[in-house]
């Protein structure tokens, strides 16, 4: 549906290029691009400030703080005499990571189970698939308060309720891609299995599931990011203060006084997304024992 496996060839050519470029020059490329991005930020800031341009928005130390000021913010205390910003942010990141990981696991299990169900019934697939797609158009930010209060009234802790919200985002790519993957085995392989009079169960485990793995990992990488998004925007309206979403709401209120704190929080969000994504990509390498098919 959205994510598909038409990209093999592109991925293969990407791999070929990277094989030719030795690791060192690859690192150098990364370094150059990162420096260029930082220079673009500071250059843009400098140009707009000195010329006084205000389109598309006014540039000053509040809207675009210096990069070094953002980095410095990590070491500044949040309240007078309190710990440096980095400490509460790391605590918040851990709290959000917990929600994201729980949501990721829950969503992956539900998504895969759904795919297994749908792959065995064309009728169910036709009946449910449109709603699986439609489910992603529901703004979870809007339903978050109800879910947190609702589950809370059943005695579920806040962070677990947020994990359920994260799962709502993560189940989708897994369900869609696993469905594709489970159907992807060579038709002749199915005929072979049938000639052995294999049961549906046996075909599922010996043929469908192994064939679905590359698709599954593509989905899991998308889900890793989605789980962080789900956790952050699940916390935000549910008044859960301990996580990164809470930190965003909090520092957003003081943005005009301390813009660097919000920026620093967003950097931590970005890093958390990258770490979870990287963890799945690494697992894929270990499990599939070959270069990843493609990202995104």
């Amino acid at each position: 549906m959205w994510w598909n496996a038409r990209h093999m060839e592109a991925a293969a050519s990407e791999r070929r290029v990277w094989k030719v470029v030795p690791g060192l020059s690859k690192l150098a490329t990364y370094a150059i691009v990162i420096v260029a991005l930082c220079a673009a930020w500071e250059g843009y800031k400098w140009l707009w400030e000195t010329t006084g341009w205000t389109w598309p928005f006014l540039v000053d130390d509040t809207t675009m703080p210096h990069l070094w000021d953002i980095l410095k913010a990590f070491g500044e205390p949040v309240t007078t005499g309190g710990p440096a910003l980095i400490h509460p942010l790391l605590d918040a990141a851990w709290f959000t990571a917990k929600e994201a990981i729980a949501g990721f696991v829950l969503g992956a299990v539900v998504g895969f189970a759904l795919a297994v169900l749908l792959v065995h019934s064309r009728l169910l697939e036709r009946g449910l698939l449109p709603y699986i797609v439609a489910s992603q158009t529901v703004p979870i930010l809007a339903i978050a308060p109800m879910v947190v209060i609702g589950l809370g009234s059943k005695g579920v802790e806040g962070w677990k309720a947020v994990a359920v919200l994260a799962a709502y985002l993560t189940f989708f790519p897994v369900a869609i891609n696993a469905l594709r993957g489970l159907q992807s085995a060579d038709p002749r392989a199915f005929e072979l299995m049938e000639s052995y009079a294999s049961s549906r169960w046996s075909i599922l485990w010996r043929l469908r599931v192994p064939a679905s793995l590359p698709y599954l990992f593509t989905a899991l990488k998308i889900s890793a990011t989605a789980s962080v998004i789900g956790a952050i925007i699940g916390e935000t309206p549910a008044s859960i203060q301990e996580g990164l979403g809470g930190a965003i709401v909090n520092f957003n209120q003081y943005y005009s006084l301390q813009p660097t704190f919000l920026w620093a929080t967003n950097i931590v969000c970005a890093v958390l997304g990258l770490v979870l994504f990287g963890a799945v990509a690494l697992t894929e390498r270990l499990v599939l024992r070959r270069a990843p098919e493609h990202y995104a």
Binding site: M1, W2, W3, N4, R6, H7, M8, E9, A10, S13, E14, V17, W18, Y30, V33, P56, F57, T62, T63, L123, L124, R126, G127, L129, Y131, A134, Q136, T137, V138, P139, L141, A142, I143, P145, M146, I149, G150, S153, A224, T225, V228, I229, I232, I233, T236, P237, I248, L262, T265, N266, C269, A270, L272, G273, L274, L276, F277, G278, Y295, A296
Partner: protein
């Protein structure tokens, strides 16, 4: 008759929702009955529709802006492939960043009441899936098709026009469909961090805070309906422009 099971599921789902919420006497603040939501929508349909339209305009603006930038970037990167391949890991990394967390920042940049603050976050959300997918489409062309064009002594512009761009369209639409859904979500999230009172996201937030849950759910359903319609419109545009593609023949094709 592919749609029959989907319609049956819809009716059964709504029926179960109505029946179970009545049977177990579920409180309205948890999950209102569909009839209550429908009633809340009906009573206020003109206002809610206007709010929805306002938010949809923000989303559509962001979609157009982000997608066109994404397509342009992909074209440039496909033309200069070494640069494109070197930048690919960064696009991948940017895709793994929870961009939506930056919504408060664009609000601060453009001002809460300026629709551009929501368009900006929607545009950034749309940019990456469209760019990455289009670039993949532009660069995963059958090498023989390129050799053939070279044998006609066709220049780079010709190769793009006749081979790379047409064969990238299915990939591009995959990205555009993701972007359509993301743009609506992005606009709503942006509004949650503050926006004009005539925006759907703000309206849902206010209704929740005022414990007017049926109306909040009506707003959520409307937001979802706009998202589905936008997705559907892009899918329709795909069918019309890529009717040549073998995959558009079957149900499963895209």
């Amino acid at each position: 008759m592919d749609w029959v099971p989907a319609v049956v599921v819809f009716l059964v789902g709504i029926g179960l929702w109505q029946g179970l919420t009545t049977l177990f006497d579920v409180e309205t603040f948890l999950l209102p009955k569909p009839s209550e939501i429908a009633q809340a929508f009906w009573e206020d349909k003109a206002t809610l529709w206007d709010y929805g339209l306002y938010t949809f305009k923000e989303a559509a603006g962001g979609f157009v802006l982000g997608s066109s930038l994404g397509i342009l970037t992909a074209l440039v990167l496909a033309r200069f492939r070494t640069v494109g391949l070197a930048l690919m890991p960064f696009a991948v990394a940017a895709n793994a960043v929870p961009i939506i967390a930056f919504a408060p920042i664009t609000n601060n940049w453009f001002g809460l009441l300026n629709p551009f603050s929501k368009m900006a976050i929607a545009a950034v959300l749309c940019f990456f899936p469209v760019m990455v997918n289009t670039l993949r489409g532009l660069t995963s062309v059958n090498p023989r098709a390129i050799e053939l064009m070279r044998s006609y002594a066709a220049g780079n512009a010709s190769v793009f026009r006749h081979v790379r761009i047409p064969s990238s369209l299915p990939f591009m639409f995959t990205g555009l469909k993701v972007a359509a859904v993301l743009s609506m979500i992005g606009a709503i999230v942006g509004e949650y961090f503050g926006g004009p009172t005539n925006a759907l996201g703000v309206s849902i937030l206010n209704d929740t805070q005022l414990f007017n849950f049926p109306r909040a759910w009506a707003g959520i359903a409307l937001a979802s309906a706009f998202g589905i319609a936008f997705y559907g419109a892009v899918a329709l545009a795909e069918r019309l422009t890529t009717s040549w593609h073998p995959s558009t023949r079957g149900f499963r094709g895209e």
